[in-house]
Symmetry: C2
Subunit: 159 residues, 2 copies
């Protein structure tokens, strides 16, 4: 690793860490909508709203969570009345997840609240820089997805 690389790595680390803190991503609960919705539930609902019925394992892949975590998460969502566990002809092991109508309504509200929050963030970025910021994040996501053990070696923003 050259000195230049090291410097860039340190810069990257500092920025990401700072953003996580500044944007409040280190606080797990709370979401800005009527009923407070835990973050993880919001993520799951968003995924189901966007990509139709999914099996639990697929949802887990999307969210990068262990199957046990997903199982519990789904239980909470069904308790809340937002998700239904269903079966389908075919593989009897699979649990299919779909939003209830109530769940779709909630997903919509959450999407609006979320968009508002991010719109606020954008408002603090000069308009001409916005596309560049979004492009850079896209690059970053691709890079992260290419990392070998992204999930396994995790947590390093702070460590």
């Amino acid at each position: 690793m050259s000195d230049d690389d090291l410097e860039q790595a340190l810069a990257l680390q500092g920025r990401i860490s700072a953003f996580v803190r500044a944007f409040g991503l280190h606080q797990p609960d709370r979401t800005p909508c009527g009923t407070p919705v835990p973050t993880s539930e919001a993520h799951a609902v968003g995924e189901l709203d966007r990509d139709g019925p999914l099996t639990q394992s697929v949802l887990g892949e999307r969210l990068r969570l262990e199957k046990s975590t997903v199982s519990r998460l789904v239980s909470q969502l069904t308790a809340r009345g937002w998700v239904q566990r269903a079966e389908r002809a075919g593989d009897a092991r699979l649990v299919w997840l779909e939003l209830t109508s109530e769940g779709r309504r909630a997903a919509g509200e959450l999407a609006v609240a979320r968009a508002a929050r991010f719109a606020d963030l954008l408002r603090n970025i000069p308009a001409e820089q916005r596309p560049a910021v979004i492009a850079a994040l896209t690059t970053l996501v691709h890079a992260a997805n290419r990392q070998p053990s992204a999930a396994a070696v995790s947590g390093a923003a702070g460590g």
Copy 2:
């Protein structure tokens, strides 16, 4: 909010959310170094290593944490032998925090491990795009810091 703004907000939200998942930031524990160090402890040690002795409340401001959270965090670090709570002439309420020599050693190791992880990430970004990515993140951090209730309305990456 114009359609264009909305579109950008949605893009931003999606990218950030994707990055958090892809890079594994949603998993609180684990850091890639000898002894597994919880993320929050690593952050705190890094801060103390960089900016000398701090009081607890200042550390809390830096990390954007409640004083109760900081108190516990510091207890864990002293139990680990990395931090010393000290007093100083002057305001007797203040608790000054400083790294022990063991703590400084650990901070160094953590920094190395962290840099390696981020260097990996950089390796997956074309060299010519790296400065742009870092610049974009800088912009993003500034924007987040300008947000009114960053801490209060938090958690919205998923909600």
